[in-house]
Amino acid sequence: MDQFTLNLLVIGATFALYIGIAIWARASSTSEFYAAGRGVHPILNGMATGADWMSAASFISMAGIIAMASAGGYEQSAYLMGWTGGYVLLALLLAPYLRKFGKFTVPEFIGDRFYSKSARMVAVACLIIASVTYVIGQMTGVGVAFARFLEVKSSTGLYIGATIVFAYAVLGGMKGITYTQVAQYCVLIVAYTIPAIFISLNLTGNFLPQAGLFGTHTASGVALLTKLDSLVTELGFRQYTGMTTNMLNMVLFTMSLMIGTAGLPHVIVRFFTVPKVADARASAGWALVFIALLYTVAPAVGAMARLNLTTTFWPNAVAGKAFDGDAISVAAINTDPQLNWINNWAKTGLLKFEDKNGDGFIQYYNQNNPTVKALADSKGWTGNELTTVNNDIMVLANPEIAHLPGWVIALVAAGGLAAALSTAAGLLLAIASAISHDVIKGAINPNITEKGELLAARIAMAGAIAVATYLGLNPPGFAAQTVALAFGIAAASIFPALMMGIFSKRINNKGAVWGMLSGLIFTLVYIFIYKGWFFFPGTNQLADNVDNWVFGISPLSIGTVGALVNFAVAYAVSLASEEPPQEVQELIESIRVPKGAGSAPHLAMH
């Protein structure tokens, strides 16, 4: 069976499964549509949260970002710690209390706790900007994955993906999305770990990639990371495990990712679906178990793929020094079946090589390193000849580099699609609920019936899918700024508001609104100064590099400072104005104790 047929079969089978779940898990009430009827088992919710959280970027790009970063693999640990440490904050600071609050959306909590429609609408705006930015990346990811594995145009792929999401998100709302995400988690984790296990066995003899990363490289007899360090420095690249040169920025970036994770509405609402407060705490732990399964494998995949790639281009480097032998020859790339993957991926443009000096060999090195450049000049090399290595190659080409069977390649394709679709669905639900529940029921038509609101939620979902599909086909300038924009806003605006709402009785309506707006505006302005106003190219005041950043703080890390601004302004304004009214004080008292979540007012209504 050829690869295309295999891909079609595996992807087709997973899609049939998602559609089956969509038909089985239809929503018949707003509680089911927004919160899956609050009947999801904490372990299943943990799995669904894992799929909801791990996006196309986590699945396809993260290992490659760690592997190929010019600053070295260590500095990228910010992603690993940031995108997992946020779950500690969720479990300790937010999830149990927001579950106890017992309503449907994040802006609804902010509106009720700060007894202010303005606060609710600011939260809606933050939610929509963050989620829309985030969802565009998922939609383009679906299109790209389809184009690569099923040989259709990426626009066609996007339409197919959108149709599938439409089926289970419009019919089933949170209920359909939850059970589809459970299935998608299983697909993506199997797809991610199988190639990783084979590569780890191959390079280190360890079955577990997590052990292989800190194990011994069998071929050379030295530790894998020591081998990788000496190899990449020989080629003139920065030491893989080398310490960061900008510690303050790494700390602030990690913190922004952590509090941003805890403040992203599509993640928070997943904890509204479990039956009890105690389940919300446990479920955050299960979510992290399922996330950690991928996030502890990713750094191993990154380091091993970097080593594999480098030794492929410098065959002598497997056991000795790279430059003691010849580079890989063009003839070998074109004839050796083991090296077929190089030309396969060169066709996609994700990998490019060029024999610049015409010597029949492809020399891969860092031409910007003066020592290595001097050596290269003496050998008659005229520049690095492996001109493009896209980060995504590290995961997508892994099965071929490790010579794994065709069904593993098909599984990786299905896994990438599962990661993108599951995150897209979670984000679309957050957007649709904000529109139907916060804007329509909360502001425009408070007397809407249950049936009317369910219909509005379905229409909002369909609209959100249409908009996301359009933006996926025509990505605007801000689409590439998920980390800066989505995490920055969640960190600077939403997370502090939620935390203060739970842990302080003194923060009032004015404090919350001014705090959120100051954190938001401060963060956006700092980002715009370096990335361009509203991300229009050429409108930035300062070039986006470390020399221009204030105290070396990157626009991607500014969310942490924005959060501090939010806290400070909220406290100052609240202390200068009146205390929150008695009923709000009572609301805070009540969300702080678990007892009574089952009898929350919304359930009494049905």
Binding site: L80, L224, M250, M255, E589, V593
Partner: protein, 85 residues
């Protein structure tokens, strides 16, 4: 619902626990993984140093333990104060 002084005591006990757990959360990630890494560089782990291990694996494992221990201790606290569901 429990009376006011008992629910205050429950909340205070919860806050103390949150503070302790957040200190550990901070120390393993921002501490061992980043700020203190140069100081720990003498401790070798699998071809690199302890700080690298914490940054790419150890902190995540500690995070997991933290959440489950917190969930377990809070279930105990809920029962002790009679506020469980």
């Amino acid at each position: 619902m429990a009376d006011k002084s008992s629910s205050n005591a429950y909340w205070k006990a919860n806050i103390r626990m949150i503070q302790l757990f957040l200190v550990i959360w901070f120390v393993v990630s921002f501490g061992f993984g980043i700020i203190l890494r140069p100081m720990l560089s003498g401790i070798a782990v699998g071809g690199t140093d302890l700080g690298f291990w914490f940054a790419q694996q150890g902190s995540i494992l500690v995070f997991l333990v933290l959440i489950f221990v917190y969930a377990w201790r809070m279930n105990g606290l809920d029962k002790e104060f009679g506020v469980e569901e």
